[in-house]
Assembly symmetry: D5
Homo-oligomer: 148 residues x 10
Amino acid sequence: MISRAEATQRVLMAKQEKDLSWLQIAEALGRDPVWATAALLGQMKMAPEEAEAAAAALGLYPEVAVALQTDPLKGSLDPTVPVDPLIYRFYEMVQVYGTTLKALIHEMFGDGIMSAIDFEMHIERKADPKGDRVVVTLDGKFLPYRKW
Amino acid sequence: MISRAEATQRVLMAKQEKDLSWLQIAEALGRDPVWATAALLGQMKMAPEEAEAAAAALGLYPEVAVALQTDPLKGSLDPTVPVDPLIYRFYEMVQVYGTTLKALIHEMFGDGIMSAIDFEMHIERKADPKGDRVVVTLDGKFLPYRKW
Amino acid sequence: MISRAEATQRVLMAKQEKDLSWLQIAEALGRDPVWATAALLGQMKMAPEEAEAAAAALGLYPEVAVALQTDPLKGSLDPTVPVDPLIYRFYEMVQVYGTTLKALIHEMFGDGIMSAIDFEMHIERKADPKGDRVVVTLDGKFLPYRKW
Amino acid sequence: MISRAEATQRVLMAKQEKDLSWLQIAEALGRDPVWATAALLGQMKMAPEEAEAAAAALGLYPEVAVALQTDPLKGSLDPTVPVDPLIYRFYEMVQVYGTTLKALIHEMFGDGIMSAIDFEMHIERKADPKGDRVVVTLDGKFLPYRKW
Amino acid sequence: MISRAEATQRVLMAKQEKDLSWLQIAEALGRDPVWATAALLGQMKMAPEEAEAAAAALGLYPEVAVALQTDPLKGSLDPTVPVDPLIYRFYEMVQVYGTTLKALIHEMFGDGIMSAIDFEMHIERKADPKGDRVVVTLDGKFLPYRKW
Amino acid sequence: MISRAEATQRVLMAKQEKDLSWLQIAEALGRDPVWATAALLGQMKMAPEEAEAAAAALGLYPEVAVALQTDPLKGSLDPTVPVDPLIYRFYEMVQVYGTTLKALIHEMFGDGIMSAIDFEMHIERKADPKGDRVVVTLDGKFLPYRKW
Amino acid sequence: MISRAEATQRVLMAKQEKDLSWLQIAEALGRDPVWATAALLGQMKMAPEEAEAAAAALGLYPEVAVALQTDPLKGSLDPTVPVDPLIYRFYEMVQVYGTTLKALIHEMFGDGIMSAIDFEMHIERKADPKGDRVVVTLDGKFLPYRKW
Amino acid sequence: MISRAEATQRVLMAKQEKDLSWLQIAEALGRDPVWATAALLGQMKMAPEEAEAAAAALGLYPEVAVALQTDPLKGSLDPTVPVDPLIYRFYEMVQVYGTTLKALIHEMFGDGIMSAIDFEMHIERKADPKGDRVVVTLDGKFLPYRKW
Amino acid sequence: MISRAEATQRVLMAKQEKDLSWLQIAEALGRDPVWATAALLGQMKMAPEEAEAAAAALGLYPEVAVALQTDPLKGSLDPTVPVDPLIYRFYEMVQVYGTTLKALIHEMFGDGIMSAIDFEMHIERKADPKGDRVVVTLDGKFLPYRKW
Amino acid sequence: MISRAEATQRVLMAKQEKDLSWLQIAEALGRDPVWATAALLGQMKMAPEEAEAAAAALGLYPEVAVALQTDPLKGSLDPTVPVDPLIYRFYEMVQVYGTTLKALIHEMFGDGIMSAIDFEMHIERKADPKGDRVVVTLDGKFLPYRKW
């Protein structure tokens, strides 16, 4: 058996060598690119047929397919506050708009949270003459606080 | 002059006493509720007419309108890792999907980042028979790394 | 308007002066003592009739009842790792049994989490000749990870 | 001699290869699954017969059985605040309900703590038409503060 | 009602004004100086007669006696690692001798801990021609880990 | 030459294989078990004859004896706040009784500290019908602050 | 494939062995020394022809050129606050002049930031009879906050 | 006497009420706007005539002029890693270009540092058709490491 | 009674108003300026006659003299790593020369430490044509580690 | 090429095997023992002849001499607050006397710092009948803050 971290390393190497994009691999899996990339980067558990399709597309040994079906210890960032500028901007959005999200979700839905588990994320490119834009859609079920 | 933090406190009190929603105040300002709430919670600088409209809608003294036009020291969360469950879920999304965002934005756009400055956020309620969903849209300009 | 923290202070003072127990106040509210105590300590949002019943039982001004209906910024512990010995033991349980909980919940339910939102907690005293025992029951909905 | 961390790795590998569940291994040991899993994940010290039964069930070398009898340096989580969403929810419960636990245990038992040493934990699945629930029972002796 | 922290402040002031030593106050209470000082510094809960004796000895109002009977949020040190040199030395002892304590207590008693709850501490002065010595005795019940 | 950390590992392995207790090794050295264990766990510097006696008792190569005579970089705990429950309890004692120790040592000795260098520690088992007790004695020279 | 960190190591070794300066390598790349050094130290993504020119100048295998074209996880400093004195001084400038930069950039440009992405840095030596000076020029696009 | 922090508050209030810019105040002082702003924000010690000119320009009491002549405890940022987006970008530059600065300054000057004390900073606006740019010039004496 | 922190504030104010230097106050006390300044800044406990001389020199009420005789909670720096540039340089010396101090003191004295309690510090100005120098002398008793 | 850390390791091993003291090696280099030890422990850059003399004295390969001439990433302590008791005492001196150093250096020299770059340190043994003393002299150029 290889570890989940080792599986991520082999996926990255094979992707580079086979010169595949994440979108091509996602298509081979029959999944959205965000979910597929998250799973291949060690954040999601794959079903057997998904893991095998991924291993086949990337030309990897069956042991990688086995590892992709294990429950990962989630969390992809080493330091508490991410340092990489692209990732940091998302942390900054939480810093700047965190209380706004809280105020408006409570106003629109009542006391509860937006799930990060029953959750989907999509990334799109929106053409714009002043410079194209990244549009990230976060879509999570509202979960009301239970009372008892 | 009152501080920006004091202005936020007065806004919250007046909103509670006048029983206004964030959406009603945003309408009075002529701005999207996300931007308006962020500004009233001390994260954005208002133009004079916006600050005055906000003060009028909330029945606040002119000194609050003055404070809303100052440059805030941004960042709405006290601890490095937010503790409130609603806000924490957004930090968790960055933890779980941070490397995925990096991989896919680089694949779709090249080396650069998604701006958190030339940036908009929208929050919507999507009806769903299994439980309504929160849909948050993040829309930021792609900024390529300069070479020299 | 008074803040949620101020409301918690007044509740604690009134409880001491009226010599009421948390169980008596919970009964007045018609809620489980755990939920009622958490709400009075600033972690849950009360419905108007609950807040009024609490204020009546404790002999507090209506402004406290108003504050108890606001959305609290949750999180009751100042330092990241709690120092008080009673509270620390629960942190220690997470340290010692965290990976066990992960292994067994994944084995019994698949990939997902135990909700801390659609969640109840109960505390009971179990008589034992070697020394009575505290029994805390955590009861949360299993939420499977969504795939897309 | 191998280290306790190495022993945990070998247990995980053998479990995966033999396709055993934690419940099956616990049965082979004659122990509750929670205790058995905690011990195999490096948090508890096994008696010789337990360690040997575990090694036999998993087909491991005697050196693993020796390691399972050593006193582990307990604590299964790397960062101070756990990042994995399943484990984090338990930390969140301590954050949100920590002062509630303190208030009610003091009210029901007096000044003291709930032991995390003379302590048992059980995990069950409770069927529910709205979605099955995880029920975790924490059962610890009350220890009163000594006076002198 | 006054808070526990406020009670500690008043105790310190009265002690200074009345020029009493901790030992004199402890005697008035009928308790060991260590326990009495810890209780007066906000770490232990007093029985009514102890709190009243303390207030009488120090000439304090009844509200202080009430506060001394509340359950304190224990933990007397602000920073995680104490800075005051006298207190830091005890932290250093844990750093230097922590694994030694673990090795020898496990060897002498088996898997378990030394209780900090069913615990007494004594401080004595030992005359020594090379310079008098502080002798601190820590005396705690051994608690074996429960198996189930 | 091997490092001090490597020497500690070899000592632990040899102790396990030879099935020796810390007390037996301490006797071979002619030192108190606390000092001997601390030295073997990398916290104290041994004299040549002590290091050789230790290596002989454990059947280790001379290079280990050499390493045991080096000045160790002291401090046996990885995280700032120890996580292992046995060791944590000593940190908790400092948290709960730190200001008490400061108040009483100053009262009994004046301004200064209890040395952690000119210091001895002893661990004993005290039989008790309600459960045996661990008694740890800390014995350090009082050092008065110098004035100039 | 080799990792980006491994590529940085090989660049440093080859530079030392071939006794090349950063300026000579930058010239071979046709880029400013700051950008070229940052890219070779793992902070920037190179175009294929740049990576190949760098590998050629340093006499490195093609796999290094491949690695230099990957998207690096940026951030060159291990600890949150840098310890090396040369690097720390830049952190100190942010500490001492951070609010000054904020006050003056807001006054000169309005609400927004100075980009660290659409950004250039230059380093020069300025002769001075009292001791030569380092002149670092930071040149970044002003990005105004978007309103919506 | 008022504290330095209090003086900063009064300066900010007077500046807002008198509607003065930092550049106008700097001119009144006869100093560069960067130095003057840093001094008024509590980071530099003013000479008597500078402090008096500042107080006169802002219409402040003499006690503020006295405070501006005290040695400030420098460091303008509360958290270790700044959160405000404008200030954070400068921290990010140190993260991304820190090792580059080290490599090139060592290559150009030898072993030593760029002083942050014998140091000047200038901020300019550079017009650019694609969007104006902020140009910050850091100018510090090179200090070679002393050998002895 | 006033607190030690309050006493420090009053000392600073009186010193500024009376325009006294630390050296003048130290002379009035009959103590070295380093010790006297440390005591007045809340780090040392004064004898009654010293406290009274200080209060007299500064024209302060007797309550300040009382406070100066209490045992201070030592430690003059708020953050773990000091930010003020003058103080930080001393932290940097520990970072850069810490292992050197350890290596040489062990070589010259054996296993032990340099006391920070039986300790004196002196600060002098040494004229130098290239710029005057600060000479700080640290003078502490060597304390050998006790063996038992 | 070997890394600077690897060079430090080889120096330590050779020193142990050849049974050389730091003072003997310093003499071979023609440098003060403090500077020589700091350089050999990876904190200073050596000139070619110094590095070669060191390698010769220790009997090391030329590659170590090469490494000793590289610019080290300075900072010898892993954790932010050092744990080793000998090194910690120097951190404690900064904690206890930091504001005293600031007050007196400012009084004696004006606004500026004591350089840690244009800096020498010396360590001496002072005989004393009550126990020998360690005398550490810190000698750094005063650097006044520049105004502009």
